[in-house]
Subunit: 250 residues, 2 copies
Amino acid sequence: MNPTAAIIIIGNEILSGRTQDININYIAKSLAISGIKLKEARVIPDDPKVIINTVNEIKAAVDYVFTTGGIGPTHDDITSDCIAEAFGVPNQIHPESFKLLEDYIGKENFNEARQRMAHLPLGAKPIPNTISVAPGYVIGNVFVMAGVPQIMQSMLDSIIPTLRHGPPIISKTWYAYHASEGKVAADLNEIQNKFPQTDIGSYPFYLNEKQNGVALVTKGQDQQAVEQAASEVYNLLVKMGYQPIEGEPH
Amino acid sequence: MNPTAAIIIIGNEILSGRTQDININYIAKSLAISGIKLKEARVIPDDPKVIINTVNEIKAAVDYVFTTGGIGPTHDDITSDCIAEAFGVPNQIHPESFKLLEDYIGKENFNEARQRMAHLPLGAKPIPNTISVAPGYVIGNVFVMAGVPQIMQSMLDSIIPTLRHGPPIISKTWYAYHASEGKVAADLNEIQNKFPQTDIGSYPFYLNEKQNGVALVTKGQDQQAVEQAASEVYNLLVKMGYQPIEGEPH
């Protein structure tokens, strides 16, 4: 069985439209390669009650939870206090992180605000990253990461090898310009029924007025079934008068 | 009081990492301009139980719900069946949409798969869009929209004027290259405490190795308070030896 995961994006800046989230996509891709099934992603505000309730609800429902955002030194960085509360433990100075931050920042600049970053929920283990000394950590099945994409990505890259991986999901995509979903739908449904162990998705695309069409994605853990279903998808596109191209439209 | 909203992105393609979602950001920006408070966004899979439960939970919690995805003619387009079930009504032929689709597609090509798109939950009202005949609709407080961004955007643009708007949220941003969150955190916290009617956010940015720093965003409904708090943010950046620039880093 594939392990399961969920993402919690913590940040008013996403909900206000200020910031386009790109963390969900990076995490989703890494999990897919590792055979870990992403069940859900939520974007929630910097609101203690919402953070605590969401973390508690989601950590009970999946194998791995990934949060991003809210672990810096400013007043709006409240994630660690909330994670500590969700786990019913104090948020206290983590001596190893304290020393790391103090060495990096310099004793004279290691003010109270920055010392807040050295507080981790009791029992948390730091997640290293190569970009900064941002204090990401894991506690229980929850991975608490930075919101800045470059730092989050470095943290995730160091987390992924420590996770239980599942059988990889194999995927094959054919697309065709000017193809219409309505024209292929009935036959596509038949292919889906014939290969129930695969998951066939149909995605219209509009790169621009001339370059539009449909991409048909076949996925699953059974390589032979994926190849066979994808080959029938190819034949279907040809039969309808389209020119199938392998891969994602770009 | 500002009306509240939530977004439900329906689509395996987002959770598998195939597709980078950009719908949340477009909807979030439109709502912010309209003074509608976005409380949450969720990305969920093409799974009937999850869709039905999520729609039922969220439509009870906010004034407006926006869904994207799953309203096309293929077997993986199950949103309308699920919305109908969430509202306890049949998903049936909507004569007006049937005629519109038939005229657009042509009687000879209006096959069974395409006729599925003319099924709307009983009581739903179509949402027009200028790009396609994709059958978006509103039922109760739920707006069901296409997943393809261009079509979703056209639908949303026709929805926004029909909503109850709230007092607009005013926002002012100062950023500075090479500024450090840890250096401004304490004074920033004082400014936040002095202007409790504003919401001050601190966002590190890394455009590239040389262009990094911090953006400080002041938001609220009280224009005078926003201006005053932002002016103190400006002074703080100057005091710390940084050169404040107005607007978002780019």
